[in-house]
């Protein structure tokens, strides 16, 4: 009996030593303990699936959903091809942290099809997605000439993942 208790004490001390040693301690507090606190919060007040997605995916998801809303409100066909401004343009010209996700992610989040300025098939783009001060506008691309001017204007910026 005594030995079992002694071994139990050894187990507890070993666990404490391992979890308090060096980087283990930082990791344990930053990850499992923080996750536990999140669990306590989340299990007490269940958020909706959409809220969980918004919280988890952050700004890129919010922009994608705003684009989706704009498409629905503007009665734009769901199979429209949306041309994104390059992320390099947001970073280098507008000096914002805005980062549009790649077209595959836009499709996963919203079911809408997007294109980069250097994507194959960019000539078929129907709308240009402009984001300024958090507001999304969809500008129709009505002619090849207009599309060429848009592409030329963004040519020096890279789309960047």
């Amino acid at each position: 009996m005594k030995k079992t208790w002694l071994l139990t004490l050894v187990s507890i001390l070993t666990i404490c030593c391992v979890l308090c040693f060096g980087y283990n301690r930082t990791w344990f507090i930053d990850k499992p303990v923080l996750y536990w606190q999140a669990f306590v919060r989340e299990s007490a007040a269940h958020a909706s699936r959409e809220d969980v997605r918004r919280a988890r995916y952050g700004a890129a998801y919010a922009f994608c959903m705003t684009i989706k809303d704009s498409v629905e409100k503007g009665h734009i066909k769901k199979d429209a091809l949306l041309l994104f401004e390059p992320n390099g343009y947001y970073k280098d010209s507008l000096h914002t942290d805005l980062h549009m996700p790649e077209p595959a992610l836009l499709y996963y989040y919203t079911g809408l099809r997007g294109l980069w300025i250097n994507s194959p098939g960019v000539g078929n783009a129907n709308y240009l997605v402009r984001i300024r001060e958090g507001k999304v506008t969809l500008e129709p691309i009505l002619s090849d000439g207009q599309l060429k001017r848009i592409l030329d204007g963004y040519r020096k910026f890279t789309p960047m993942l």
Partner: protein, 464 residues
């Protein structure tokens, strides 16, 4: 309810398969091993349906799972009717001692947190969202894995060509009512943790076994992938199971272990096709073992074919057949191969980078905690003090060397196999191998014997 039925389905199909291999373990090993085999079988079902162009409806998917479960258990039904009380035998020998409880509690805490995040939060890794997760989401809506996702702009990603393992399991769990899927990853994590604990407890004293398992579980990189759906954790688990069985086969020559090793390694290749390269590097160990048994040269070729067949089949079906003949867009793997293979400078630089950047660095500690340092320390101590390694220790060390060597080689073969992504995640495979080397380290084994002898000198209080 869905999870209960799926869990039962995984367990019984896995159990049926293990019984076909004639594997028999005690209950606490059999249950997690059967669960892991069952999840592997489930991951094949939607993919097989897709290969025969059967639409993916809940009826067809769950029908296929049920059918697989029944077919794999036909012999067991017969045996159960002949001897209905054989299940009782499995229940014998479950024993938890008081000093195991602290380890069980801390592991349960880590497991619970991971399970909750898998259940509650959506998948987040870019590699999943821009490929398998999106394909699975649209497969549920459009009833096929070859769906409208492939009509969108995919020039920035190659994740759509990755294994159907993840897509299949996501499809099953989304259809079962889990909108984010992922719960299968928790089943793999829980089963693997339970299984390792049982195997470690068999090898060394539970206090040491619990400590080794804790060291493995708190490996930051590994833990992160228990709650973030991707391929590498599952690949690590199934490759480890295959190796455990293979090393068991080296020890006692039971063909059941060989067949189960080929199955689990086949699944590991199905999950990540480049695993095949590692398996080829494991061949010399099998050849040496067979040569010691007096197998002829022709016999060695035969054993090679048997060993690699499931893996080559998985590789061919997922990479060559499915990617090139089913998907509407194609991926030329050969175009990704390094054209300057004979220049060995980059290869050695890659090995150096693996060691200096991913292991012996502050970044390495953030990835692996202190596991690799403990491993290196114990290896050095064993070499200095004992001056030789045990047979099992040598086998695990060989496996570790193969993975290190193989990852460097893969980085040299495929420049896309980057150091800080693919190689870093691939390195996860050595973590459980290191733990199993440690539990076969003679110093640890001696310490274990010493604790057992000291404990058994009088103590007999056992919490059942």
């Amino acid at each position: 309810m869905g999870i209960v039925l799926l869990t039962c389905c995984h367990f019984f199909s896995g159990y049926g398969l293990l019984k076909l291999f004639r594997l028999q373990y005690k209950l606490l090993v059999m249950v997690p091993l059967a669960m892991l085999a069952g999840v592997a079988i489930a991951s094949l079902m939607p993919f097989i349906l897709q290969l025969v162009y059967c639409p993916l409806y809940p009826g067809t998917v769950f029908g296929a799972l049920t059918m697989a479960c029944i077919l794999l258990n036909i012999n067991n039904f017969r045996a159960l009717r002949a001897s209905p009380w054989r299940w009782k035998r499995l229940l014998r020998g479950i024993r938890i001692r008081l000093y195991e409880i602290p380890y069980i509690l801390i592991l349960a805490f880590l497991v619970w947190v991971s399970v909750w995040r898998c259940y509650y939060l959506p998948p987040t890794s870019r590699d999943a969202l821009s490929g398998p997760e999106a394909i699975a989401e649209y497969a549920v809506r459009e009833h096929t894995m070859i769906n409208s996702f492939f009509t969108t702009e995919l020039s920035t990603t190659n994740n759509q060509f990755k294994s159907p393992f993840l897509i299949s399991l996501q499809v099953i769990y989304k259809m079962a009512g889990y909108p984010f899927g992922q719960v299968w990853l928790s089943i793999i994590f829980v089963s693997f943790t339970l299984l390792l604990y049982q195997w470690l407890k068999t090898a060394v004293h539970p206090v040491l076994g619990g400590l080794l398992l804790l060291l493995l579980t708190i490996t930051p990189e590994m833990y992160a992938y228990t709650l973030m759906v991707l391929y590498d954790y599952s690949n690590t688990v199934y490759l480890f199971l295959g190796l455990y069985m293979l090393i068991g086969y080296f020890d006692n020559k039971r063909s059941a272990l060989f067949w189960s090793a080929t199955f689990f390694m086949g699944i590991a290749t199905y999950i990540r096709s480049e695993t095949l390269v590692l398996l080829v590097l494991f061949m010399p160990a099998l050849w040496i073992m067979r040569r010691r048994e007096g197998t002829s040269f022709l016999g060695l070729m035969w054993w090679t074919v048997l060993f690699l067949l499931p893996s080559v089949l998985c590789y061919y079906v997922t990479v060559q057949l499915y990617n090139n003949h089913y998907l509407p867009v194609h991926y030329d793997v050969s175009a990704q191969v390094n054209q300057r293979l004979m220049e060995l400078g980059p290869l050695f630089r890659r090995y150096k980078d693996i060691i200096t950047e991913l292991v012996v660095s502050a970044f390495g500690v953030r990835l692996w905690g202190y596991l690799m340092f403990v491993f290196a320390g114990l290896l050095l101590a064993e070499l200095v003090v004992m001056r030789r390694l045990t047979r099992a220790g040598r086998n695990w060390l060989y496996a570790i060397v193969v993975v290190f060597g193989g990852l460097g080689l893969l980085g040299h073969l495929l420049p896309l196999f980057s150091l800080t992504d693919s190689t870093k995640r691939g390195l996860m495979k050595v973590a459980p191998m290191m733990v199993f080397y440690m539990c076969n380290n003679q110093l640890i084994v001696r310490l274990s014997h010493w604790i057992r002898r000291w404990e058994e000198a009088s103590a007999d209080d056992v919490a059942r």
